[in-house]
């Protein structure tokens, strides 16, 4: 079987989570792509439709306020022309506030739509060759295929629908889905049998059983997901919506009752006027949490989008959110924690043989060995003893590895060099009339005990020594796992190895726990046990027998190379099939929640400054003493109100990039993260509007706007 390598991305081996997040993939779009900007701008005006806007109570209140102000404007043209200039500006900025909030959402959606369009282009009207009962084939449009149909695909043809390979083997170009151009192998049986509609067969042929009906294919679901057509509010989003709707109601009460309060004040003081409706609406709009209200859905969509940028397809926003809450990560040892191939790390000679001789023999016996293990022997000999790979001459006879002999090697110039399992080599030496020293058996056993794999080397009747093959933990894995620990996430290594080997790797990688000789049932039991203790569990999987565990886990990341059953069971699919990505998914989930919390805090903290701008402006005529509350020294009452409204609208636009990108996230303990974010978004939110409103007031005054 040819080796199929997991597609590697530049970031896959990075040590640092923070490095991973902002890094863009080759096909990622820039944040402000002109095409997306244009589409979003147009969309933000369509979104003014009150029926759709009603779903967002905060922004809906702003729209109602804007509408009331605009209607009164018409009335005031005749009754109070002196105020018109001010009121027009207020009305305009209130409308802008709505449009800006819509724009944020539209931006996030447009990014999804652009991605969906790219996907849809691949949904050409392919035709399929359906196999009939008699074995003959007929050509039908792909759209007419039903689950259960059997089709044949040859090199150069598009696979017409999602399905399972039931016969044959082929290389397939899945770049449509994964963005990765290296072809992958698809074959019947085993865990590489799933094919996706829209991908292209490059060589050979396969017979496929279609597993989905038209409109329900993986590609269809993917398009629906990125377009947001199936977008449902996540539980946390619902709760946050309740909070901001509640706050809106409280501020509505505070502003509406200000009307009678001010009437009392005006009568009591015998001076001034009651604040106009435009001013009251301005105060209301400034107080209600428009910042988070406007950006909330954009944050959610952008979170899904960010997961997508990492080539992970989340089946729901809920899954992304849940990944931020994960307490326990189940990581497969092979391919996730270790590189996946055992590598030579040491030559241990026996019988007084020199290191160099052993290394030389080992290298020669591995020259034709194209397995990663074999190559690692050549590399080690070269790096440690300066032995360069030699030219393979014609008089060399390479003996390939076979399951029967359990060794491989070379015959050259009368030298028979072999390497292999220690028993096999022992037999080889004995057959050649040699003796196997006790030292060699002991060394092999010691390596086994340490979790490594011993590979004995012999030349004719002489046992030369042992190569220590070891599972190599990926570079930086230890750091990443300790970062996870700092975030409060426990890591559990899942492996089929015996407990001894597992323990060795576990301690080297620094996982918190391991599950050795793990059967799928063990995995499922472990997940259930963790969940019973109140923990959320995330795992990766690809095989059909992983499906129950993937379904049970709170976050199940299925590999795209895996079986359809696994993909159906998980709530995310990694198109790159890189299990390490689970860690990034967790980071994105956390970042999503942090962004929401940060902007909510910021939004509420902003209100303090707005009170100091608007309350004195409202009542300075009634109670001139209240001018002392005008700590920003804003020029006039009108400019104070206008500046606050303008600040409130502009801050939404200013924070759109933050909402789409997510706030900066670095793995650290909850306490230090809270301290940091409270400082930036809490205290920052309290302070920032003071200079902000002051500067706008300077402009408003200088331009003579109010």
């Amino acid at each position: 079987m040819p080796m199929v390598e997991t597609p590697k991305f530049a970031h896959a081996e990075s040590d640092d989570l923070t490095e991973l997040l902002p890094k863009k993939l080759a096909h990622a779009r820039p944040l402000f792509d002109p095409e997306i900007l244009r589409r979003a701008t147009k969309e933000s005006f369509f979104k003014l439709n009150p029926v759709t806007l009603m779903k967002n109570p905060v922004i809906f209140v702003v729209e109602v306020g804007a509408a009331i102000t605009s209607i009164l404007l018409i009335h005031d043209v005749f009754s109070a022309p002196a105020l018109i200039g001010f009121e027009i500006q207020i009305a305009l900025w209130l409308w802008f506030t709505v449009v800006f909030a819509n724009f944020a959402e539209a931006m996030a959606e447009a990014r999804g739509k652009a991605q969906a369009d790219a996907l849809r282009k691949t949904k050409t009207d392919a035709s399929a060759r359906r196999v009939l009962n008699g074995g003959k084939t007929e050509t039908v449009p792909a759209s007419r295929l039903r689950a259960g149909d059997i089709v044949i695909c040859e090199a150069g043809e598009l696979i017409p629908g999602d399905g399972e390979v039931i016969e044959g083997i082929a290389t397939v170009d899945e770049s449509v889905i994964t963005g990765e151009s290296a072809p992958v192998i698809r074959e019947s049986g085993g865990d590489r049998s799933a094919v996706t509609g829209g991908t292209k067969v490059l060589s050979d042929w396969v017979k496929i059983r279609i597993t989905s009906n038209p409109g329900e294919t993986f590609l269809d679901r993917m398009i629906a997901l990125v377009e947001g057509a199936e977008r449902q509010k996540t539980p946390n989003e619902i709760a946050l919506n309740i909070l901001i709707a509640g706050l809106t109601l409280i501020f509505l009460l505070a502003v509406v009752t200000l009307q009678p309060f001010s009437r009392y004040a005006v009568i009591a003081a015998g001076a001034g006027l009651m604040p106009s409706v435009a001013v009251l609406v301005s105060l209301l709009v400034c107080l209600i949490p428009t910042t988070i209200g406007g950006l909330l859905s954009a944050i959610g969509i952008a979170g899904m989008d960010r997961v997508m940028q990492h080539n992970v397809l989340a089946m729901s926003g809920k899954a992304v959110e849940a990944s931020g809450d994960v307490n326990t990560l189940l990581l497969d040892k092979t391919g996730t924690i270790t590189i996946g191939n055992r590598q030579a790390v040491e030559f241990i000679p026996v019988n007084g043989i020199s290191n160099e001789e052993l290394a030389d023999a080992a290298q020669l016996s591995s020259l034709a060995d194209e397995t990663p293990e074999g190559r690692s022997v050549v590399v080690l000999a070269k790096s440690k003893y300066g032995l360069r790979g030699r030219e393979v001459t014609s008089d060399c006879n390479f003996i390939p590895f076979s399951a029967y002999t359990r060794m491989s090697g070379v015959d050259m110039h009368g030298r028979a060099l072999r390497k292999g399992a220690s028993e096999a080599i022992a037999n080889f030496v004995k057959e050649n009339g040699g003796q196997v020293p006790k030292e060699m058996t002991e060394t092999a056993e010691r390596i086994s005990r340490q979790g490594g794999t011993p590979l004995a080397v012999a030349e004719n009747d002489r046992a030369l020594g042992v190569i220590h093959l070891k599972d190599v933990v990926k570079g930086g894995m230890k750091d990443r796992l300790s970062q996870l620990r700092a975030m409060g996430i426990r890591t559990v290594m899942i492996t089929g190895d015996n407990p001894l080997t597992a323990a060795a790797i576990a301690s080297e990688a620094g996982v918190d726990d391991f599950l050795a000789q793990a059967s799928p049932a063990d995995k499922l039991a472990y997940i259930k046990k963790e969940q019973a203790e109140g923990r959320l569990v995330a795992m990766t999987g690809d095989g059909t027998n992983d499906a129950p565990a993937l379904a049970q886990a709170d976050v199940g990341l299925a590999m795209n190379t895996g079986t359809m059953a696994a993909k159906e069971a998980g709530n995310m699919v990694d198109l790159d099939s890189n299990p390490t990505k689970l860690i990034e998914v967790v980071a994105i989930g956390k970042q999503l929640l942090i962004t929401r919390g940060a902007l909510t805090t910021f939004s509420i903290a902003n209100d303090v400054a707005k009170y100091f701008a608007i309350i004195p402006a409202m009542f300075m005529a009634t109670y001139p003493a209240l001018a002392k509350l005008n700590i920003m020294r804003l020029h006039t009452s009108q400019s104070a109100v206008l500046s606050a409204v303008i600040f409130n609208a502009l801050i939404i636009i200013a924070l759109v990039p933050l909402a789409l990108r997510g706030v900066k996230y670095r793995p650290q303990s909850a306490a230090s993260m809270l301290r940091r974010n409270l400082l930036i978004y809490g205290i920052g939110g309290l302070v920032a509007p003071f200079p902000g409103i002051w500067i706008i007031d300077q402009f408003v005054h200088a331009l003579g706007l109010a």
Binding site: I242, L253, T257, G682
Partner: protein
């Protein structure tokens, strides 16, 4: 501020700190049904209560049943008190003949609207009184009617707080305790023994306890003076301990028969804060991490101390107008000379932090900023130690909000004390917050502009503002204070407003009911929802809620949420009044 004044405040705070743990440990045992020192003595009484009421001690209730029991109990006891007040003329222990044709002149009649207001007031632990006890109510109504409510409304508050703590402490449980059992235990083991001890102590200090008719004395000037008598000490103890605050006399704790000595004054103060402070320890103990309780205690303490010092310094610096006239000195208007500035400031803060409402100084006569403190304390929904039980469940409401908003910033869906805070909890917390701010703002708004027919039923003097003694922003503060005090179930009066008209009696009563039950019911719903949840294990990824950071966050949430809601109203009341005072204008 003087060193002596600071020392007095310091001593008080240290004593509260010292009481918190022992009382908390004791109450934890009581509500867990474990044996305590007093069990040999009181267990028979407790059991007798269950037999008498047909309560099965071991049965637990879901939150809906718990709430149903509370509501039916409140309704029954409300109706009983209403009847007592209306029928006091036919009931015993009425030497002054209140409610009969031979009542003394100037006695306030217990009209249907006043009775309604007062019955709800005592049912809701508010004890707002639109009358003076000594010329309105018989000894029977005071002792049996009011004092019973002083016990039961306090016990109910404690019960709700304990039920909410159980919601956090339990997991995947359907029930949150038994209302009747919690009520009986709170009364028998906590309120009864403590108030007995305190009442005896008050007697030793000279608080009166008798059933005599009022004494008519001839003064040195040769005039006659009626000196009211009555069973004061027994009511006084539970008045403070249950954060009730309804005085036997109109002058409340400023009256020498209620509060004769500095020592009795200190004990009154301690009695107000004792149980609310102790309950923070119960919280920590029951959820298995006492630091959690202390964090809540710390947040309450910060808010309390900030209030005391603002009020104290405002009163100490006095009135600038008098100072300009060459009479510098602190603001002694409306204060008892024997208590002085620091004790008056401390008492005003404590009584409005906790929803007590007893007073030793006239809040109406505080400086504008001095008056702002009690007003703001109550606008926090009484969470600074707060009413017995009410303070804790109110503070936990804010903790839920604080954790929900800031908790997101650690990158997890928020959780508090191991329980996930989700839509249901947020919805309930917001409902409570909206309802209580709505009644304050809406009724203050209507009352500041409402016009009624002169001589009509609702407000015979005409517009609702004609009931005010002061004009300008101060008059506005008086209305705002009335509804704030009612919604917070505080009951302290700013004074300066005649609340005994059908309009204020009715709106005040509605405000008190909303302020009580629209927090209790949502919080019980939260308790039920939390109890059913699993407990999430604590990791380094969990938002820590046991340290200074969280206490600070909690303080910030309480201050910001309350300030944002009430800043416009406050700026038209005490804030502008303060600026005007410095410009030389008074109201």
């Amino acid at each position: 501020m003087t060193p002596n004044g600071l020392l007095q405040i310091g001593v008080f705070f240290v004593l509260i700190l010292a009481i918190t743990k022992p009382l908390g440990v004791y109450m934890t045992r009581v509500f867990a049904g474990e044996r305590t020192l007093l069990h040999p003595l009181l267990r028979p009484l407790e059991r007798a209560c269950y037999v008498l009421c047909g309560v099965k001690e071991s049965t637990e209730q879901r939150w809906t049943q718990y709430a149903g029991s509370l509501l039916s109990f409140s309704l029954f006891s409300f109706a009983l008190l209403y009847a007592f007040q209306r029928l006091q003329g036919y009931l015993p222990l009425n030497p002054m003949g209140f409610g009969t044709s031979h009542a003394m002149s100037g006695a306030t009649p217990m009209t249907p609207d006043l009775s309604f207001n007062n019955a709800l007031s005592f049912t809701t632990n508010t004890n707002w009184q639109n009358y003076s006890g000594e010329n309105t109510l018989s000894y029977f109504v005071q002792m049996v009617g009011l004092t019973m409510h002083n016990f039961t409304s306090g016990a109910a508050g404690i019960a709700i707080a304990v039920a909410l703590i159980r919601g956090f402490a339990r997991q995947t449980a359907a029930a949150i305790g038994n209302f009747w059992v919690d009520m009986v235990r709170a009364t028998v083991y906590v309120l009864l023994p403590l108030s007995l001890a305190i009442a005896l102590f008050f007697c030793s200090q000279g608080v009166i306890q008798n059933f005599h008719p009022y004494t008519v004395a001839t003064t040195v000037e040769g005039k006659t003076q009626t000196i009211a008598q009555g069973p004061v000490a027994s009511q006084e103890a539970i008045k403070m301990l249950g954060t009730n605050g309804g005085g036997f006399f109109g002058a409340n704790s400023a009256h020498p028969f209620e509060n004769p000595t500095p020592l009795s004054n200190l004990v009154q103060l301690l009695a107000i804060f004792a149980i609310p402070a102790g309950l923070t320890y119960v919280l920590g103990k029951m959820v298995g991490d006492t630091r959690q309780g202390w964090a809540v205690f710390a947040a309450m303490s910060v808010l309390f101390l900030a209030g005391v010092f603002v009020l104290y310094s405002a009163e100490q610096s006095g009135n600038p107008i008098l100072a300009n006239l060459g009479v510098p000195g602190p603001n002694m208007e409306g204060k008892e000379v024997r208590f002085g500035i620091p004790m008056s400031a401390l008492f005003a803060t404590v009584t409005t932090d906790a929803s007590c409402g007893a007073v030793i100084a006239m809040h109406d006569s505080l400086t504008p900023f001095g008056g702002l403190v009690p007003l703001f304390n109550m606008q926090t929904s009484e969470v600074i130690f707060g009413g017995v039980g009410a303070g804790l469940y109110g503070m936990l409401l804010f903790a839920i909000l604080a954790v929900f908003i800031a908790g997101l910033m650690v990158g997890r869906t928020p959780e508090y004390l191991g329980k996930k805070i989700e839509a249901k909890e947020v919805k309930m917390a917001m409902l409570a917050l909206i309802a209580t701010s709505a009644v304050i703002l809406v009724f203050t708004g209507i009352s500041s502009v409402a016009d009624f027919a002169k001589g009509g039923y609702w407000n015979s003097t005409g517009a609702a503002t004609t009931n005010l003694l002061n004009g300008g922003p101060h008059g506005f503060s008086e209305i705002l204070y009335l509804f704030t005090s009612s919604a917070a179930n505080n009951g302290s009066a700013f004074g300066g407003i005649n609340g005994n008209t059908p309009w204020y009696n009715l709106t005040g009563a509605i405000t008190m009911a909303v302020g009580r039950f629209f927090i209790i019911l949502p919080m019980l719903a939260v308790a039920g929802s939390l109890a059913a949840k699993k407990r999430i294990p604590v990791t380094s990824g969990t938002l820590p809620t046991h340290g200074a950071l969280f206490s600070g966050l909690l303080v910030g949430t309480v201050v910001i949420v309350s300030a944002l809601t009430f800043f416009p109203a406050l700026s038209l009341g005490p804030i502008v009044e303060h600026f005007l005072m410095w410009e030389g204008r008074l109201f």
